[in-house]
């Protein structure tokens, strides 16, 4: 069965289920008795297992199956939730996430069997058995009973297999074709922990040399580990018996394989097996079932292997956004309005051509209508692209929990504003920077328990993650009530590393010193830990956020805590811009970066260290003559008043001198094509004006 078309859905849903599991297990840790949570987890694990099975991801299925087992016991009240169990469960989730990541990359789940985790899960189950020994004993006794029955003397246990008419037919048919039929009984070492897994490997090995017709116990039972230390199969093969034996014994932890060509007359056939009609019935149905999964299982994985290669490093799956059908309806409506607007415009312009008085006002009216439709359309399309940051921040409580254990610090994460929406591309990228900041807060920010006690702070450190919309920006704050940033320490470190000289340091404001943290490979942690201190954090955070046209700043009070503030534009594709003219060329500057526009007479310009500055409302602002930056002649004479745009980036300001102001306009950002993009730092993109001409977009941040 070709399942590749479902891959996207599978990955989407798996991610959702895993996220759900993460959240629920966190809740469970707080409230171990909460039945709703346990049920929810059980359901999620069950869906995961089903989905993985359908898609042919066996390892993932095995793991989720074992998880489900544990939960089914918890649900039945046979075992209690313990801290150790929660840890194991989180490990499971990590392993599952790894599988998912592999599948997303290559379409294949990878080869990690995660036996350790499965063992741990089984230990949890055993814990139950110890707790209710009697029940367990009864169970094992039951299990062993048939085994001892069968084990009377003859080690060729496959002789016990009862053949249905179908099987007999298949065997006869095979013999007619000159194929050989063997019986095999496989003895697993008694020390083997994962009998089912071994059995699975044996089945796989057998399938390479032949075909399993029937097995005892049934394939399902073997898969569920409902067998003693042996199982028997009947195999059709074209190879000699030794090859079969070797194939089976090649699997590790297999003690012995007893194999022999079959003699049908020795076998119990349907007629003789009347004593156990029930069992025989079960087995006949099994025959149909056995080859089916066996044949299916290798198929998808093989297919994926071959299918992936040409794709190379490209992920197999496209990124998707789930869209509310209502949003799509709104879009559809707007498009139909757009068509109406176009038609009205055609009619109005025809009327004007015929000299109809008053038609001009009609055209204007229609243009206004068109404008409102396009504005709405823009908004709706943007809304379709917007997703709540929830999907990213949801994984953080879990991360903080793990960090808390790892660092041996008590901490609590408070989140708010998860529903804040951002463009999908931004949401995808923002996870890593946020993770860095949170880790920093946990590791560098929060003090150890002793220091906290000394300072009279509550023992449990707090970290806040808050998101909210502020005008055209979304602000995400990461705040902690920890130590704050020690500017002195950074200064000393920077001098020691030679990043700055002592004279420079003396002239730097505290703020400037703290900004040193954003330089590559700068870490203040005294010792490198697992969590942070390698100095590959904050510069990555900064560059990543700047790549998203956002900015990051930090406010800190020593001893009280620090706040990291990330500002991101709501949308990336359409911005409000100020259109300016320099040397006869039109440029757009993002309105967001322009604070004020000043009319400055040339004699107000002073020289400081041979650089032009103006004095404006108490601050000295350096002047950038845009025409010089753009290598073009200004159209204005030196005596004319200057038009200065005051732009701000963080605490720094600059006055950008332009020739003319053309007004404010909503512009669509276009890429300039691979050939030019990023070659000129000043230009962040291009846009197409109403007259069809291209205007370049200036990145004011580069000028400051």
């Amino acid at each position: 069965m070709d399942v590749s078309q479902y891959l996207e859905i599978f990955l989407d849903e798996t991610t959702e289920h895993l996220q759900n599991l993460n959240t629920q297990i966190l809740t469970l840790e707080q409230e171990p008795e909460n039945m709703d949570t346990i049920n929810e987890i059980f359901r999620a694990a069950h869906s995961l297992k089903g989905m993985a099975g359908t898609m042919g991801y066996k390892r993932m299925q095995t793991l989720t199956h074992d998880m489900e087992n544990v939960f089914s016991e918890v649900r039945n009240g046979n075992i209690k939730v313990k801290a150790s169990m929660i840890d194991v469960l989180f490990q499971c989730l990590d392993a599952l996430e790894e599988y998912t990541a592999n599948i997303r990359e290559s379409g294949d789940e990878g080869t990690n069997d995660n036996e350790v985790i499965i063992n741990l899960l089984n230990d949890q189950l055993k814990g139950k058995e110890e707790a209710s020994k009697e029940a367990a004993k009864a169970q094992t006794a039951e299990k062993e009973a048939p085994a001892s029955d069968n084990g009377s003397g003859d080690r060729r246990k496959w002789l016990q297999i009862k053949l249905g008419s179908t099987e007999t037919m298949v065997i006869n048919e095979a013999l007619k074709q000159g194929l050989k039929v063997y019986g095999a009984t496989v003895y697993v070492q008694e020390t083997c922990l994962l009998k089912a897994a071994r059995a699975f490997l044996v089945f796989k090995a057998i399938e390479e040399v032949g075909e399993v017709i029937v097995s005892s116990p049934s394939a399902q039972d073997i898969e569920d580990e409902r067998f003693g230390f042996d199982f028997s199969v009947i195999v059709i093969s074209e190879h000699p018996v030794e090859k079969l034996k070797a194939a089976i014994e090649n699997v590790s932890e297999i003690a012995e394989a007893v194999t022999e060509p079959i003699d049908l007359s020795q076998m119990k056939t349907e007629g003789e097996a009347k004593t156990a009609p029930k069992e025989e019935k079960k087995e006949t149905t099994q025959v149909v079932a056995t080859p089916a999964p066996a044949a299916q299982a290798p198929a998808p994985s093989d297919k994926n292997k071959t299918g992936v290669k040409p794709a190379g490093a490209k992920p197999v799956v496209n990124r998707t956004v789930r869209v509310d059908i209502e949003k799509l309806d709104v879009l559809m409506n707007l498009v139909s309005e757009l068509i109406i607007a176009k038609n009205s415009l055609v009619v109005a312009s025809e009327a004007r051509l015929q000299g109809d008085p008053g038609s001009q006002s009609n055209v204007n009216e229609q243009i206004e209508y068109l404008e409102s439709v396009t504005t709405n359309l823009h908004e709706s399309v943007m809304k379709v692209r917007m997703v709540p940051i929830e999907s990213v921040v949801n994984k953080f409580p879990r991360m903080i929990r793990d960090l808390s254990k790892k660092l041996d610090k008590k901490m609590e994460l408070y989140m708010s504003g998860e529903e804040t929406e951002l463009d999908r591309t931004v949401v995808d990228e923002i996870g890593d920077p946020l993770m860095h900041l949170l880790r920093n807060a946990a590791d560098h920010g929060l003090e150890s328990a002793e220091v906290r006690a000394e300072r009279g702070k509550p023992e449990v450190g707090s970290i806040w993650l808050e998101a909210y919309q502020d005008g055209n920006n979304v602000v995400i704050e990461v705040r902690d009530d920890g130590n704050g940033i020690d500017a002195e320490k950074i200064k000393n470190k920077a001098i020691a590393r030679g990043t700055i000289t002592e004279e420079q340091a003396a002239n730097m404001s505290e703020k400037e010193i703290i900004d040193l943290l954003f330089l590559p490979s700068f870490s203040t942690a005294d010792k490198v830990t697992d969590v942070s201190g390698r100095g590959v954090g904050l510069d990555v955070v900064k560059s990543k956020i700047e790549a998203l046209s956002g900015e990051v700043e930090v406010k800190t009070v020593l001893g009280v805590g620090s706040t990291w503030i990330i500002r991101l534009p709501l949308t990336l594709a359409i911005i409000q811009a100020l259109m300016v003219e320099v040397g006869g060329e039109k440029y757009a500057i993002s309105l967001g970066s322009v604070q004020t526009i000043e009319d400055v007479s040339p004699d107000e310009i002073k020289l400081v260290q041979n650089k032009e500055v103006i004095h404006l409302r108490g601050s000295v602002i350096p002047i950038v003559r845009l025409h010089k930056e753009l290598d073009i002649e200004s159209t204005k004479s030196p005596e004319d008043n200057l038009i200065v745009l005051i732009a701000k980036k963080g605490d720094r300001m600059a006055g950008i001198v332009v020739d003319e102001l053309l007004g404010q306009q909503e512009i669509v950002i276009k890429s300039m094509g691979k050939y030019i993009d990023n070659k000129c730092k000043l230009i962040s993109g291009a846009t197409i004006l109403g007259d069809g001409e291209v205007a370049l977009i200036l990145d004011a941040n580069v000028l400051i």
Partner: protein
Amino acid sequence: MNDLKVIDETSQFIVVSLGQEQYGIDIRFVENIVRMQHITRVPKMPAYLKGVINLRGEVIPIMNLRLKMGLPDVEETKKTRIIIIKMEQCGSIGLIVDEVKEVVTLDMEAEVEKMAFDKDDRNNYVSGVGKHGDGLISLLDLNAVTAEK
């Protein structure tokens, strides 16, 4: 079978002129031919990169082929055209040429002489020379033209 062979061995080229010379541009890479239009200058670019134009809502960089190949620049005329080519590694690019003449089909075996210029020659943008009628057509190596040297 014979028909197929013919297709294999011939290629179509758009013949353009730059000054006195004629150049051939492999038609497989040509997306469009447009008239000269206003080009928005992009600052801090090499001289041969004239700027960008808007082609049906897409912003496309424009290269002056004369300057790129080290020929003297000339005033644009009514015949000046921009040939939009699309290459895999650098996307769409427009090339300014003096004039577009015709489309020719050249038999790659019989009519084209492969050029074995020095590969390191920085100004070598020709991959071969085709004979067509009385004239010769230099076949442009578009990869070399669009490569950043």
